[in-house]
């Protein structure tokens, strides 16, 4: 499941976390909130961000 979690503190500062994404798609998903709320003061990429979808190479076998 892909979710965006926003924690808005008592001083009005917001912290956005994306969950269930791999790679940079999380940034695309949450950008609408980031631009709507104000100025980004810090950003941290997590291990999931650096994961990429692994594609299995196609193997061609030759039958004689």
């Amino acid at each position: 499941m892909q979710t965006i979690e926003i924690i808005i503190s008592t001083d009005g500062q917001s912290r956005i976390e994306t969950r269930g994404f791999t790679g940079s798609r999380c940034k695309d998903a949450s950008r609408f909130l980031e631009t709507a709320l104000g100025k980004v003061s810090s950003e941290k990429l997590t291990a999931e961000y650096h994961q990429t979808v692994q594609h299995q190479p196609n193997h061609l076998t030759q039958e004689n």
Partner: protein, 125 residues
Amino acid sequence: MSHIVTIQTEVRDAEALGLACRRLDLGEPVHESVPLFSGEATGYCVRLPDWRYPVVFDVDQGQVRYDNFEGRWGEPGQLNRLLQFYGVEKCRLEARRKGHSVLENQLSDGSIKLTIQLGEGHANN
């Protein structure tokens, strides 16, 4: 999680500001020019409880002007609470525009957590 972003709220949406005021039982923000101690300010004015001067939001510039004399003319927590609820209502509005569902929870430290569940094809919205 994939990435974490911290954002300093800027009030740029009069509709979300109005919704936040409604939730806090404040009067509807009115766009006007008002005198502050340090001069006149123009924007959406909100009168916070026991504040001597109104808080003025310039939504075009994302700026807020007020004179509370370091808390002596108005308790800063009132303004922070308004900013918090503005953030909540702004997120709810934006999520709804994208067709996403939003779950809201109050946390023990006073923070508010919103969980937005993305539907299929969200990237195309």
